[in-house]
């Protein structure tokens, strides 16, 4: 029993060590080799395009259901739908926009990255990169870090807007809230720091997705089956980490006054 726990702990320590090594060497290679600008653009576009439709749908329906729930709750309490725009706006911009977008991107683009790099690992393409004088960090890992760091915040802002629009649709059609009231409820109370709270978090999430998806791919082993396993693990680890880090970063941001 204790031996099993010890073994698991050792394995975890090894994984953390490998992750640290990968991230550190990626950081080092940013300065050691010229940036692969073409790759960065290609990956950013790919991640953005891959994820845009799913993140849009997710935030549209999230905005819609937020309006519905808050509208009917306040109707039953106060006989009219009050502050629907505020509830939808704040929930989306500060929390649900960044978190749900990150989770969807982890499932869509993060999984794709792990599968791609994992396949390259088990078919010796990563070794081939080395023999041809190209460092996998600078050719594969760094461009994907940049891509996630660019694409995810953009997707997040886009999701915020779509979600607010979804809430608007429901509140005007189903709850008969005047459009000026809905938007006043958002923009009279919303401050830049509220927006920044969610926006800053999306960079942390992007970092998590890039780290986890590249790491799981680079250290995949054991043929096609191994790549499948790595891909599943990548999505699960990203999601759990996103939700956990979300709490701590939120607390930190609140503590420094960006709430």
């Amino acid at each position: 029993m204790i031996a099993v726990i010890g073994e698991k702990l050792l394995a975890l320590a090894k994984k953390l060590g490998q992750t640290y090594y990968m991230t550190a060497s990626a950081l080092a290679w940013i300065f050691l080799a010229p940036l692969e600008k073409k790759e960065i653009v290609k990956q950013t576009v790919r991640i953005g395009v891959q994820s845009l439709s799913v993140t849009s749908l997710t935030s549209l329906f999230t905005g819609m259901v937020l309006a519905l729930q808050s509208g009917y709750t306040s109707k039953s309490l106060f006989n009219e739908p009050l502050y629907v725009g505020s509830v939808v706006g704040f929930s989306l911009v500060k929390e649900l926009g960044p978190v749900l977008t990150a989770i969807v991107v982890a499932g869509r683009a993060g999984a794709a990255v792990t599968a791609e790099i994992g396949t390259m690992r088990v078919t010796e393409q990563i070794d081939a990169l080395y023999t041809l004088g190209t460092n996998p960090s600078s050719y594969l890992v760094i461009p994907r870090y940049f891509a996630f760091m660019i694409a995810l915040p953009v997707l997040t802002v886009f999701s915020d807007f779509i979600g607010i629009l979804g809430g608007f649709m429901v509140s005007s059609v189903k709850l008969s809230v005047a459009s000026s009231v809905y938007f006043d409820d958002i923009f009279n109370y919303m401050e830049v720091k509220n927006f920044m709270h969610g926006f800053i978090k999306s960079f942390f999430f992007a970092f998590i997705i890039a780290t986890v998806s590249c790491y799981k791919g680079l250290y995949a082993q054991g043929g096609a089956q191994g790549v499948g396993k790595a891909t599943t693990e990548s999505v699960v680890s990203s999601m759990v980490l996103i939700l956990a880090i979300d709490y701590f970063v939120s607390a930190l941001l609140v503590a420094v006054g960006i709430s």
Partner: protein
């Protein structure tokens, strides 16, 4: 010349390379034979720095490359060596000519405008004209091997390392790859190191053969010497393989 002394590599608990010493002369075709899992690929990867040996020395043109090397020194080794992977290891996100030109950027000083021409020239050398724009998924096994060979020779290495160059190919394509290896050796004056369990290939084109078993060399010498070896493992291996090939 590659001079290897007492090379040891373990993947605990397994001893994969257990004290390998041999010398590969400049210009020769050197084959390494042996059953699967005896560390042949591991050995080849040590030569190009993909694997770090636990102990021992590898002198590449007089310089020991087995220790801790800086990135710059590793890059110098890679410039000297081309590696042909068992399954080709072609980049499937790139087309044929982009694959061939891949090593030019970091291993040579060739101007980027000339990459395409260089790639075409190398493709011609392996008999693949007019396939510059094909996707990797459109290639047959034999074509993949040839594209991989073109990619390995493109930066102009003086050593070519082949991992199982004919495995998984039909006999005719295998024969063609064997001819290409011989041709590369003569035209480009490269030193070739071939890992294989294809007896016919090794006997036909090698100047020297080392037979690996359990991480040790159990026989080394000219093809003739290997053929007449008294070692039972070698004899058995040769007999079984020639039966499968159906001749000699």
């Amino acid at each position: 010349m590659i001079d290897i002394r007492d090379l040891v590599k373990n993947y605990p608990p397994k001893k994969v390379l257990d004290g390998i010493s041999l010398t590969i002369e400049t210009g020769e075709i050197f084959s390494i034979m042996g059953p699967s899992g005896t560390g042949k690929s591991t050995f080849l990867k040590c030569l190009i720095g993909l694997n770090r040996p636990d102990s021992g020395e590898i002198f590449l043109d007089g310089r020991n490359i087995a220790g801790n090397l800086s990135e710059k020194e590793l890059q110098e080794i890679r410039k000297k060596m081309g590696y042909l992977f068992q399954e080709g290891a072609l980049f499937d996100s790139l087309c044929v000519w982009e694959n061939v030109a891949f090593g030019l950027k970091y291993l040579t000083g060739i101007a980027p405008e000339k990459y395409f021409d260089v790639a075409c020239e190398k493709l011609k050398m392996v008999g693949l004209e007019k396939s510059e724009y094909l996707k990797i998924s459109e290639l047959s096994g034999g074509m993949k091997k040839r594209v991989a060979l073109a990619r390995a020779i493109a930066p102009g290495p003086s050593y070519l390392l082949y991992d199982e160059p004919t495995t998984g190919l039909d006999p005719i394509t295998g024969e063609m790859v064997a001819k290409l290896i011989k041709e590369m050796s003569e035209k480009l004056k490269v030193t070739s190191v071939i890992v294989t369990h294809d007896v016919k290939l090794a006997m036909e084109i090698s100047d020297k053969i080392a037979f690996f078993q359990g991480g040790k060399i159990i026989e080394i010498g000219s093809p003739q010497k290997i053929k007449n070896s008294a070692n039972t493992v070698v004899r058995e291996f040769l007999e079984n393989c020639s039966c499968q090939a159906g001749d000699s």
